[in-house]
Structures are given as structure tokens and as C-alpha cells.
């Protein structure tokens, strides 16, 4: 054992965004656990406040601070760690680490990089170095040439042989990349691309090759294992994060499997990785050729998946190896007795399907390809491919009850197979249903026939099932094929419940199996479970100590993210403290709650009524089901579970329904005398028009039982009303559409709280910086409120009290209000933990989930909590992923579009806001601002623009804004519009990198194309962009007033300590 460091700094990954999501909460949390076990003092920097890793009981010191050079350097200077971990915070941490190393910070402060050496990371991150390193040991990577002229491109292409892949720079979001079939096409495309970039890559075209990954682990003594391999169902050409993935590989022969395994090991040993690493291959099964596509010398999305697939805790082991342990010195955490130096043998398979939310991004394309667009994923375990695949389809929570029972409408499904979209899987099924052949689909998609045949068998079985009677044999076969009771009922014209009853009467119930890493070879007391119909004997007996069943969050999507995992994990922590046992059900591999040591029992399973009932029936002596901590998926289970006779913990299902059902909620508010915006439930367009005319435009349209405002929209005129109504109605056919008056220029605030049998025990009031109209998930939120009248606060509190009492709330709740002209109206109420629970818990230093869980268990002791009079301010900012989504418009609206959030604490609003804004990976590099503001908002900016102007900022603007500020006596620099051919256009300035910040505030009524283009340009050129008047003015104030150089970062513990002393 080499000398252990005394204090280790871990860099987190920041706000969740496309390509970098909750998996890094899992990896960072495991790293902290592994370090603490060694008695090492841990310091974590991560502004993602909704994570488990940033909890006070995790790292010894947590900094909610931006992950940038300046801040991290200051923290290193202050904390003086002697070791640092770079591979647990995704690409963000890795890049930051490389940069810090480059400028000599580690050397200066004596910080040792633990695990994989920086030199190795550099090689894996640099295309050229990487290729050279591989060539040295005779490992093949794709042939590739960087070219600068058309002639060079042609030469390169003929050297490689057509078709070739052309890549035209990365900064333009993959614009101009694609497959080139011949010389003529290449000439055209290259010519076009050189208009925008100077360098083009001409590469070997590997489209259609199989895409295979290996997760490799190596210790400092060169002992190396591959923990798992995975096969992408979607072959090369579709990003692995966008692909359906199976583990282990299904179509590889022993020779293929082990030769790629041997290559992975050779690479990792040559590069000298210490810890965990992911190797991606392209494999041509016809010729047997392979190419190494990429090596990620860090924990990744794939490694998180591999951990959950196998039960092998990759991040935990990687941390131990970084400290100098050798693999064989560590134990297999699942068996507890066997060695960590082994390769898991699976006796099941896992299917991962990405979760997209493309409808949430206005004007974003639905095709998928080489760039990642998905926002989450699900993993299903089963003992046959159809079983696991259909489970995964249901886990997605996109309205599918199985592969054959989906809500999508296809005119021509073949189109979406050749040119893949986010619903290609369903298009394949549709083609088969309409008589298409495996050959045809294979030809278009290059998906291995093995997968396609299975999908076809599912389709054929569906046809058979339609015709046969439901005897035991048929029922069992249907279940082995992964059909849900609901789908069977759909095919047989029976209700789900009738099918369930008949199934159980026939003795067809799922069998509970363990994930034990060794295929049953050794005895393992593992609590990691799944269910299957391919079995006859349960691996475990039901728990007898009346456990609580907790429903987890399901896949991350817009509106339901890592915060609900935090809630679920904190619920388990509290239950454990209270001496209770708990069972976790979740389907999301990017979570901490699915670490098997988090709960007494983990069912990696569907969050469907059927499966929750199966589990609750098996674990018959349970103490009840907790539906309030997993977000909306879990919450939606309340009523059906209660109707089926299951006990819920906390607020009653009836009360939940009274809050979720707008009609019932509204009449309750009416009885309580609580104000609400006028609304009406409409079932047809005429009714909607009548209502809009009555209250006046704009109006807000939404279906009930919403999640992140699915299909919500504000419409300003009748034509839009007509268009959007179709959209909203399709999304939720079971529930009518609700239309309400939209109040302009109102403030929005919310209360997060916990009640105990109708009495509020704790609450926190937060204020939105943006005016109403921005979805609460996209809003910048301040706690404690800084600009609200005491009167407003008092009224909000009283309303909350009335509602809590009327609904007899026990547990968490969240109420949203709008306030204008001394009036306060309730706009929404959720009787569950909300998105902001981790934020309010950490800012106030009172764990709302802990309190809620105590309330639910009936053991909460009344205490007075201070949540208003704080010595610091917390600001939570949305993290957007627009730069990942070609063509998406970036103006926040009533539909949520942010993929994550960050939050920072500060001594005052400006400081906390500015830090929080910086923490969303933005920074203003110079003093050049471009300003274009719609007329309604111009007046709000006068003071700020003047202040910046006085401080020497170069402020560029367009015609209208220029004239306005000129009138105010502020002379700005005028630029031409975007399509103007003169030199000084906004477009040219942005492209030339002569702008450091773009403030573009559109009008709610008129969103013109130029403005949209400017916003897109800013995003594509990585220039910070602000589109909201309230955050815009606040940011400009920060830029004018805050001296970021002199700023000293404080840790969470600093703030807590100060609060306790005062």
C-alpha cells in the first residue's frame, strides 16, 4: 500500500445536461464512500445541489461553487488537499483537471492526481496522440485524415476508399458531417464545408458495423479485468447514448468476444489507466475486422450502466485502485467473500433504452444519430430478450404498455428506420405488423437480424394471442414474451385487473431472482433483485420486518431528474435511522437509489401498477408504499394503488387526487376562499374560444395530470389556440384540457413544505426571479425571498395552511403562487416532494425529506424551524442543453426545457445569483455585450446598461434598442441586422468571437426569425446568452458590481457554522 493521501478533492460534474447526467452522482457518491472508509478527509466541489453526493453526511466539505479554473484554484489554495480525483465528474471534471494541470496548479499546491495519470488522460483526449499510441501496439483505429483543401480531401478519400465519413469541425454541432458516397458528392460537400471551417476530417466509413463496448478495470500492478461488455442494437452511426444497448453482447461469438476483450486489456495496460475505463469498438462480423473508436479514461454513463447491469461497484473499486489498492486485495461487494478480481458472469440480460424528450424542445429535429440528444435512460433485466425489451419499453414512461401497445402513429414507418428517429424501435414493430420482413428492416437499419427476429416474434405472438383463449400455457408464454396484463387485456378486451386476477388464479406470477455477479456459482446474500417469468423458484423469501416500499423516480426526463433520486435516497436514510426496513423499486441506472447498499432490498424493476402490485404482493407483510418521493411517475400510482387496496404512506390517495384533479382542486379552493386564475375545463374548440374571449388573451392551455408542463402552452390569439389544442388533447386522451387566464407581469413564488395530519411543520418560501410564464423548472429561484412583500409571504403561508388542513396532508407538498398588485393566486399544488426539495433542504439546513418521512411514520416531534431569517441567500439556476440540440429555440416558456439545475449560496442575492449563473458553465470573458430588447422590456434595463457603459463596456445593439437608449442619453454601438450584407452585422461579430455576452429579450407576442437566429448563433458559438428580462437585468448588475477576482469561495459547512453561531 502506498501512502494514503490525507485530504482528497473530488470534482463533480455540475448541472445535468444532455450527455452528462445523474450517472455522475452515482460515481461521485461511491468515490466519497470509498474514501471515507479509509478515513480520508474529502472535499467536493459540485454546484449540483440536487445530488446525493453534496449531502452534508457525504463529503466532509462541500462547495456549491462553479466548476471553473478561478474558483477551483481558490478552493485548492484554501483547502490544500494532497490528492485529487478527476475521473468521477464526467467530461467536466476531466477537462477542468487537464486545464488545472496545464497551468501548473497541482504542482504549485502539491496536489497528486490519484488514479489514471494526467499523461494517460491527455492521450485518450487527443485524437492524434491516441491514434499514435494505438498504432504503436498494432491496434487498429479508423483511418482518418485531416485535410485543408478540396484536393487533399479527394486524395484522402481515394486512399481510404468510398464511402467515407466527412466531419467538418465539432463547434458547429456536427453541421456538415455525413456519409459521402462518391467523388462528385465529396467535391460538393467539401467545397461547402470549407466556407465555414478550415479543417475537415475524412474518415473511414464504419456505418453499419456493430458497436461494442467493454468496461475495463486495472490496478497499479497491471492486473486487469473487463467487468462487462455491451452490444449496441443500433449499429455504428448512432451514438451509444442514443442506442438501445444489451449486456452482455448477444451476437458475438466466443472468438469475437474474447479477441475484443484482449484488445481492450492490451490498450489499457499500454496506456496505464489506473481505475476504470471504457473502450468502444466497431466490429465487422463478416470480415472479422475491428476498429477502436474511443477510450474514456474515466467513469462514464456506460460504466454506471455496467455497474447496475452486473452489480460490480465500478466507481467504488476505481476509487480504491486510485488509492493504490490492488484488485485481488478487494472483495466482491456482492458476495462479500469472493475476490474483486473476477469478471461477473450474468445469468440474465439487461436492455437499456434511451429516454428522449425531443417534443419539449421547440423546433428540434426528431432524428437521432452521432450526437446525443437523449436526457435519460432505463434498464430492464430479464431472462429473455423479449421479456427485457418489453419491460424497458414500459419503463420509459412515454405511454407504452409494451412494444405492441404504443401511442405512436406512423404513416410510413420505413422512413424512420433508414433515417432513425427517437421512435425507431416502434417503427420496426409497425413494419412487421404490416407484413414487412426482417431482411428489409435489416437492409435499412443494419440492425443485426438476431434483434429483429425477436421483435418479429413478439409481433407474431401478439397475433397468436389475439386468437387464442387465455389458458395457463398461453398466459405464461405471453408473460415470458414480456406482455403486460394491460396489453393482454387490450388484446382480449378485458380490463387489466381482470387479466391480473385470472393470471394469479392460473398460478402465473413473476419469480424473484437475485443479481449475484457469479451466476449462482457462489452463495451471495445479495439484496439486488429483479423479476422474471422464466423461472419457477424464488431466490429469496419475503422480508418479514414490515418494510416500507419506496417508488423511485424512473428515467430522468425534462421535469423529473436527479432531485427525485435525492428524495428517494434521503427517504431510505431516514427510514434506516428510524430502524425501519425499506424496499426500493426503480428502473433508472443513472441513480444512487439503485446502488444495492442504499436500501434493504432493491428491485430493479418497472414502475408500473402491475409490477408494483407483484412486488407488494410478494412482500406481503409490507408497511405501505411511499409514492411521494419519486416525482410524478410515482405520484400517479397513488390512486390506482389505493383503489387496488394497497396501503399508502402519508397523504391519502383521495387527497392526492383532489389536488391533481383540477376540477376538484378548484372547487376546494373556492370553498376555502382562495383565489385562482379563471379557468375552464373544455372538451372542444368552441368552448375554448368562448373562454378565451371572455377572459381575454393570452391564455394558458394544459392537460391535467401534467409533468413538467407536457403540451402546456400560452397562446396569444385564436389561430394559435386552435393549433395547440390538438397537441394538448393528443397527449392526454383520458383527461380533458384545461384552459386558464394567463396573468402577465406577475411574480411567481412557491412554498415547499411538510405537514403532519394537516398541520404544517416546516415550510420554505422561494421566489422566482423571472416573472410568471417561465415554467418553475426553468426559473431562477431565490431562497429566502429577497423582493417579496411581507404581506405576500404572510398570505401565501396562510393559504398553504388552509390547503394542508383541507387535504389533511401528511408528508411533503409544494404549492405555487402568482402575485400581482397585492393579489395572490394559487396556480398549482402537488402533494409530493417537489423538484426544489434538495435546494430548500440544503439552503435552510433542514432536511425536508427527513422531516416528511418522520411525519409519514407518525413520529415527528414538533420543533420550530427557521427558514426565512437566514444569513445567506441561495439561488438555483436552470441548466440548459440547447447546444446539444440542433435547431432548438432557447427561450424559456411554460414548457420546461432545462435538463438540470445548479445552486449556489452567497452572502447576498447578487453574489449567489452570479455564482449560480457561472455554475451553469457560462462565463463572460470580456467586456463586449450585444443587446437587443423587445419594446415591452427596454425600460427595465436603463440603469444596468448605463452602469456597464460607464464602466467601459462596449455595448453593441440593433436599430430599435439603439434608438431607445440614445433617447436615454446612452450611446451604444449599432450593428446591422443579421441578413444585411454589410460587414458589421451581429452574425459576423458573433462568428468572429467579438461578442462576450448576448442579451436578447424577445417579446412574448412577436418572436421574429432574426432574433431566433441570433440566439442560435450565440449557442452554437458558445457565447453566453440571456433571454429573460429579469435575469438579464440582474446579470448585468452583477457584471457591473461584483468583483469576482476578490471573491473567496465558502463551503456549505462555512455557511452552516455561521448560521449556528448567529
Amino acid at each position: 500500500m502506498s501512502r494514503n493521501p490525507k485530504k482528497v478533492l473530488i470534482l463533480g460534474s455540475g448541472g445535468l445536461r444532455i450527455g452528462q447526467a445523474g450517472e455522475f452522482d452515482y460515481s461521485g457518491s461511491q468515490a466519497i464512500k470509498a474514501l471515507k472508509e479509509e478515513g480520508i478527509f474529502t472535499v467536493l466541489i459540485n454546484p449540483n445541489i440536487a445530488t446525493v453526493q453534496t449531502d452534508a453526511d457525504m463529503a466532509d466539505r462541500v462547495y456549491f461553487q462553479p466548476l471553473n479554473i478561478t474558483t477551483v484554484t481558490k478552493i485548492i489554495e484554501r483547502e490544500k488537499p494532497d490528492g485529487i480525483l478527476l475521473s468521477f465528474g464526467g467530461q467536466t471534471a476531466l477537462n477542468l483537471g487537464l486545464e488545472l494541470n496545464k497551468i501548473g496548479i497541482f504542482k504549485k499546491f502539491g496536489v497528486r492526481v490519484l488514479g489514471t495519470p494526467v499523461e494517460t488522460i491527455k492521450i485518450t483526449e487527443d485524437r492524434d496522440l491516441f491514434k499514435k499510441a494505438l498504432t504503436k501496439i498494432n491496434i487498429l483505429s479508423p483511418k482518418s485524415f485531416a485535410v485543408y483543401t478540396v484536393e487533399e480531401a479527394l486524395r484522402a478519400a481515394s486512399a481510404i476508399g468510398y464511402p467515407v465519413m466527412m466531419r467538418a469541425g465539432y463547434s458547429l454541432g456536427g453541421l456538415g458531417s455525413g456519409k459521402i458516397e462518391n467523388k462528385k458528392q465529396l467535391k460538393e460537400k467539401v467545397h461547402e464545408a470549407f466556407q465555414a471551417v478550415s479543417q475537415i476530417l475524412i474518415e473511414e466509413y464504419l456505418g453499419g458495423w456493430k458497436e461494442i463496448e467493454y468496461e475495463v478495470v486495472r490496478d497499479k500492478d497491471n492486473n486487469t479485468i473487463t467487468v462487462c461488455n455491451m452490444e449496441n442494437m443500433d449499429p455504428m452511426g448512432i451514438h451509444t447514448g442514443e442506442s438501445i444497448v444489451v449486456a452482455p453482447s448477444q451476437t458475438l461469438t466466443n472468438e469475437e468476444y474474447h479477441s475484443l476483450r484482449a484488445v481492450s486489456i492490451k490498450i489499457i495496460q499500454h496506456l496505464g489507466v489506473i481505475g476504470e475505463c471504457n473502450v468502444q469498438f466497431a466490429l465487422n462480423s463478416v470480415t472479422g475486422e475491428y476498429r477502436v473508436i474511443e477510450v474514456n479514461a474515466r467513469l462514464s454513463r456506460s460504466s454506471a450502466l455496467a455497474s447496475k447491469v452486473t452489480g460490480y461497484p465500478l466507481a467504488f473499486i476505481a476509487t480504491k485502485l486510485a488509492l493504490g489498492y490492488k484488485l485481488h486485495e478487494l472483495k466482491n461487494s456482492v458476495t462479500g467473500t469472493t475476490s474483486a478480481f473476477f469478471e461477473p458472469a450474468l445469468d440474465y440480460l439487461a436492455v437499456k433504452i434511451p429516454r428522449w424528450d425531443l417534443t419539449k424542445f421547440k423546433s428540434s429535429e426528431h432524428t437521432i444519430g452521432s450526437e446525443m440528444k437523449s436526457v435519460g435512460e432505463v434498464m430492464a433485466l430479464g431472462r429473455s430478450f423479449p421479456e427485457a425489451l418489453q419491460k424497458a419499453v414500459r419503463m420509459l414512461n412515454v405511454g407504452c404498455h409494451g412494444l405492441t401497445h404504443h401511442p405512436f402513429i406512423f404513416n410510413n414507418p420505413l422512413v424512420e428506420i433508414g433515417r432513425a428517429t427517437d421512435r425507431r424501435l416502434f417503427a420496426i414493430y409497425e413494419v412487421f405488423r404490416r407484413g414487412g420482413t426482417v431482411e428489409k428492416v435489416h437492409k435499412l437499419s443494419k440492425i443485426d437480424p438476431w434483434f429483429l427476429w425477436h421483435i418479429k416474434h413478439i409481433q407474431e405472438f401478439e397475433t397468436r394471442l389475439r386468437k387464442t383463449t387465455l389458458v395457463k400455457e398461453q398466459m405464461l408464454e405471453a408473460k415470458k414474451f414480456g406482455f403486460s396484463d394491460k396489453t393482454i387485456g387490450h388484446l382480449k378486451n378485458l380490463s387489466e385487473n381482470v387479466v391480473r386476477r385470472r393470471r394469479i388464479a392460473l398460478g402465473v406470477v413473476p419469480i424473484v431472482k437475485q443479481i449475484d455477479t457469479l451466476a449462482g456459482e457462489f452463495d451471495a446474500e445479495t439484496n439486488y433483485l429483479y423479476t422474471t417469468y422464466h423461472g419457477v423458484k424464488h431466490d429469496v423469501e419475503p422480508l418479514v420486518k414490515t418494510p416500507v416500499i419506496i417508488l423511485g423516480s424512473g428515467p430522468y426526463c425534462i421535469g423529473s431528474s436527479v432531485e427525485f433520486d435525492w428524495c428517494a435516497v434521503n427517504t431510505t436514510k431516514t427510514l434506516r435511522q428510524c430502524g425501519k426496513q425499506m424496499i426500493m423499486i426503480n428502473s433508472n441506472p443513472e441513480t444512487v437509489s439503485t446502488d444495492f447498499d442504499c436500501s434493504d432490498r432493491l428491485y430493479f424493476e418497472e414502475l408500473t401498477l402491475e409490477r408494483i402490485r407483484d412486488i407488494a404482493d410478494f412482500e406481503a407483510l409490507n408497511d405501505g408504499i411511499m409514492v411521494s418521493v419519486g416525482g410524478q411517475i410515482a405520484n400517479n400510482m397513488a390512486l390506482p394503488l389505493a383503489k387496488a387496496g394497497y396501503r399508502l404512506l402519508g397523504t391519502s390517495a383521495d387527497a392526492i387526487d383532489r389536488a391533481e384533479n383540477r376540477q376538484k382542486f378548484s372547487s376546494m379552493l373556492h370553498t376555502l376562499g382562495v383565489d385562482q386564475p379563471e379557468w375552464e375545463k373544455v372538451t372542444n374548440l368552441a368552448g375554448a374560444k368562448r373562454f378565451a374571449q371572455k377572459v381575454g388573451y393570452p391564455v394558458l392551455i394544459r392537460p391535467s395530470y401534467i409533468l413538467s408542463g407536457g403540451a402546456m402552452n400560452v397562446v396569444t390569439n385564436e389561430r394559435d389556440l386552435q393549433r395547440y389544442l390538438g397537441e394538448a388533447a393528443r397527449l392526454s386522451p383520458d383527461h380533458p384540457v384545461v384552459i386558464s387566464r394567463f396573468i402577465m407581469n406577475a411574480k411567481e413564488l412557491e412554498i415547499d413544505g411538510v405537514a403532519d395530519r394537516g398541520n404544517i411543520v416546516i415550510y420554505a418560501i422561494s421566489e422566482h426571479i423571472e416573472n410568471a410564464g417561465v415554467h418553475s423548472g426553468d426559473a431562477t429561484i431565490v431562497l429566502p425571498p429577497q423582493r417579496l412583500y411581507l404581506e405576500t409571504i404572510r398570505r401565501a403561508k396562510n393559504i398553504a395552511r388552509q390547503i394542508a388542513s383541507a387535504l389533511a396532508i401528511t408528508g411533503s407538498f409544494n404549492i405555487q403562487f402568482i402575485a400581482k398588485d397585492n393579489e395572490i393566486k394559487v396556480i398549482e399544488c402537488n402533494l409530493r416532494a417537489s423538484r426544489s426539495f434538495p435546494f430548500v433542504s440544503k439552503v435552510t439546513n433542514h432536511n425536508f425529506i427527513e422531516i416528511a418521512t418522520q411525519a409519514v411514520l407518525g413520529i415527528h416531534q414538533p420543533v420550530r424551524y427557521n427558514t426565512i431569517d437566514l444569513d445567506h441567500v441561495g439561488v438555483k439556476s436552470p441548466q440548459f442543453s440547447y447546444n446539444r440540440l440542433k435547431g432548438a429555440d432557447s427561450v424559456a416558456g411554460v414548457e420546461m426545457a432545462s435538463t438540470g439545475e445548479v445552486a449556489c449560496l452567497g452572502d447576498n442575492l447578487l453574489e449567489a445569483f452570479y455564482l449560480s449563473w457561472l455554475a451553469t458553465e457560462q462565463s463572460v470573458k470580456g467586456k463586449r455585450l450585444f443587446l437587443s430588447i423587445a419594446d415591452d422590456h427596454k425600460h427595465k434595463f436603463i440603469d444596468e446598461v448605463r452602469a456597464l457603459h460607464d464602466r467601459g463596456w462596449r455595448i453593441y445593439t440593433t436599430k430599435g434598442t439603439y434608438a431607445y437608449f440614445n433617447e436615454q442619453g446612452i450611446l451604444l454601438k449599432r450593428l446591422h441586422c443579421i441578413d444585411n450584407l454589410k460587414d458589421l452585422t451581429v452574425e459576423n461579430m458573433i462568428k468572429a468571437g467579438k461578442i462576450d455576452l448576448v442579451v436578447n429579450i424577445p417579446s412574448p407576442h412577436n418572436n421574429n426569425d432574426d432574433a431566433r437566429k441570433i440566439r442560435r448563433l450565440a449557442i452554437d458559438h458558445h457565447i453566453p446568452l440571456v433571454t429573460n428580462a429579469e435575469t438579464g437585468t440582474l446579470l448585468l448588475r452583477c457584471l457591473a458590481e461584483i468583483d469576482i477576482k476578490g471573491f473567496q469561495p465558502k463551503s456549505l459547512q462555512d455557511f452552516i457554522q455561521r448560521a449556528m453561531l448567529s
Binding site: T251, S339, F342, S384, F385, F522, G535, D539
Partner: protein, 359 residues
């Protein structure tokens, strides 16, 4: 067409599944499980499985069909029967020639699908490998314990060559390859080395012939049944020519050296067996080396009985059992695992180089 089938074990327990309708022969054998996730073609043709009913713990078998004979470990399927959760009907691989179902039918190998192989594996793990039979009659009672001993030498004639074969004739130096039920990958690995190979039957007496080295192969059953092989090897151990034992060959080496072997409760069969290289030279500063190995054996060497001039070279990290031995002074060494892989990981292929160096 499938109909109900049963696997009845000698302890009376019954596992149900499906068997081909026409498969009405009664099949008996020792029931063993393998935890590998690929390589069913290699396993089925591995002569070491002769007389055994092989249970695959991985639920999907036959996914990539059956590859051509170059990947086989012998010229036919040696397992007595196959038990699976699912036999893949829609196999897919450009290099494959037929489906696993067709291959099994062709070679008249009984099989059973739809079995809860995990429950079966756990049963065998606890109770130990035992005899069993695949049948269509659930109520059938045959005294399995009374059946003829199926292990070891009784199977040797079925898996063996009858007379010596020569390979790599162009080379001068020669190796004797003792075939106790040889996996062809061992031969393929040796053929890459510059030696003439004389592959001989297990009871062949090579002690009077000139040779430069000996390799004792893997094979089925109880090593103690290979009396002739042990006898001849004892003579060879008196000389100084390098000897390399693999799997059963390792057990035979130990027996010839004077040690004893014992039957493991359920054996090691899989591709993920972790082995640690014991530091052979106390002076060397070589740090700990571990390897993932491919294994298929039901017997092991009893460490307490190992003579003083021998030592342990490899140890299983899971159960600490002996995975390799060597003579302290002479060039004799053997390993319990399969350095030739096929199926399984290729981490220890270097052992052939080591043998080459000794020659």
C-alpha cells in the same frame, strides 16, 4: 415440436422444462453447470464434458448459431445432454453454418429448454454435482446411484485417438502430446511453436522414445482412473525434459508426483475464474499477478499431499484451491485452468511461451 420434459436428479429433485417431442430416449449423466456467457460451441465439443449433462447458466444459448469446424474443440459434441433456459431459434451470424437446434439433432444429443437453470445451478452448488436424467416421464424412478460409474476412464475410449498422430513434421525438436481427451485448441496453440508434435493415446508408453518435452492434456472424469497415463508420466518425471500439464493433465501430474486429488463439490466451470500467481522465486520482486482463466474441472489437487519438491504456482482467489503446481528444481509445471482458452479469456496464453522457453 416440444413436449414436457424433466430433469430428475439422483437426490429425487425434479426440474421441469421442454424436450423435443421425438426425444424419448432416457438420458443419464453427471449434471454440471458452466457460467460462461459465450462459447457454447467450444464447450459442447470439449471432450472433458463426455458423459456429463451440461447446464448453461447463461439463459440464451445458440444466439450466433454454430460456426464451422475450425472453432470446434473436437470433431463432435461430447456432452451427453444439454440443459438451457432458452435455445435460440433465430440465430444470426455471417460465419455460422447452422442452428444449434439442428446441430444437436444431427448429432443426436438430447436437450431440454425452458428450465429454471438458476434454481438448478443453486441446487447443484449446495448439494454438489450429481447424476441425473432427462426424460419425458415425470414419475419415472430409476435408481441413479446404482448406475454404472460414469466418471473417468469409462469414457476415455470414446473421446480418444486410437494411434499416434504427427503434426508439424517440418521441425526437429519434438513434443509428446498425451491425449486424454484433448481440446484441439491446445494442439492449435502448440502448433504455433516450432516443434514436431506427436499426439498419443492416454495409455501410450512414450518413455522409451526420444522427445524434448511432454504435454498432458485435459480430459473427462476422475484423474485416478488414468492409471496408464500416470505410470508412464512417473517415468518421464525421472528425466529432465520439460513437462506441461493442463487441467486433467495437472491432476495427473500431481498424482504421478505422489500427491492426491479430490472431487470438488461442484467443480469450476466457467470463464471468470480468478487465479493469482504465487511468487515462485522469493528473491524476485515481482508484484502480485492475477489472471482471469477459463476452467472446466471437477477434481483438484490436495495441497497437503503435495511432495516437498513441488510447490503451488497458482491459486484460485475465490476458494483458494490449487490452480497450478511446479517442481522446485525441474522443468515440470501444470495448470488446472485452460491457457488455450476457447472458450473464455486468453490471459494465460503466455504459458505456452513459458513451455517453449523451457524447451
Amino acid at each position: 415440436m416440444l413436449s414436457s420434459g424433466y430433469l430428475i436428479l439422483s437426490d429425487g429433485s425434479v426440474f421441469s422444462g421442454q424436450v423435443p417431442y421425438q426425444q424419448n430416449n432416457l438420458l443419464k449423466g453427471e449434471v454440471v453447470f458452466n457460467t460462461g456467457m459465450t462459447g457454447y460451441v467450444e464447450s459442447l465439443t470439449d471432450p472433458s464434458y463426455a458423459g456429463q449433462i451440461l447446464v448453461f447458466t447463461y439463459p440464451l444459448i445458440g444466439n450466433y448459431g454454430v460456426l464451422s469446424e475450425q472453432t470446434w474443440e473436437s470433431d463432435k459434441i461430447h456432452v451427453a445432454g444439454v440443459v438451457m433456459s432458452e435455445l435460440c431459434q433465430s440465430w444470426s451470424h455471417p460465419k455460422s453454418i447452422k442452428s444449434l437446434a439442428d446441430w444437436l439433432a444431427e448429432q443426436n444429443i438430447p436437450f431440454m429448454t425452458g428450465v429454471d437453470t438458476r434454481a438448478l445451478t443453486k441446487h447443484l452448488r449446495v448439494q454438489g454435482t450429481m447424476r441425473g436424467m432427462i426424460t419425458q416421464q415425470r414419475e419415472l424412478r430409476v435408481d441413479l446411484a446404482q448406475s454404472k460409474k460414469i466418471l473417468g476412464a469409462s469414457f476415455i475410449p470414446k473421446v480418444l485417438i486410437q494411434k499416434p498422430l504427427i503434426y508439424n513434421k517440418q521441425y526437429e525438436k519434438s513434443i509428446i502430446l498425451v491425449d486424454c481427451g484433448l481440446k484441439l485448441s491446445i494442439l492449435r496453440s502448440l502448433m504455433k511453436l516450432p516443434y514436431r508434435i506427436k499426439r498419443v493415446p492416454h495409455d501410450y508408453n512414450y518413455s522409451k522414445e526420444p522427445y524434448d518435452g511432454v504435454v498432458i492434456s485435459n480430459g473427462p472424469g476422475d484423474p485416478m482412473d488414468y492409471k496408464a497415463t500416470i505410470r508412464v508420466l512417473r517415468v518421464a518425471l525421472r528425466k529432465n525434459k520439460p513437462i506441461f500439464g493442463i487441467c486433467l493433465g495437472s491432476q495427473i501430474m500431481a498424482l504421478a508426483a505422489g500427491a492426491q486429488t479430490y472431487k470438488l463439490l461442484f467443480g469450476h466451470r466457467g470463464h471468470n475464474q480468478p487465479c493469482k500467481l504465487e511468487i515462485s522465486n522469493p528473491k524476485s520482486r515481482v508484484s502480485d499477478k492475477c489472471f482471469i482463466t477459463s476452467q472446466n474441472h471437477g477434481y483438484a489437487i490436495n495441497e497437503a499431499t503435495l511432495p516437498k519438491d513441488w510447490r503451488v504456482t497458482f491459486r484460485n482467489l475465490n476458494d483458494n484451491s490449487i490452480e497450478g503446481i511446479e517442481h522446485k528444481t525441474k522443468p515440470f509445471f501444470s495448470v488446472q485452468f485452460h491457457p488455450e482458452a476457447c472458450p473464455g479469456p486468453t490471459d494465460t496464453i503466455w504459458l505456452f511461451k513459458k513451455f517453449h522457453k523451457l524447451l
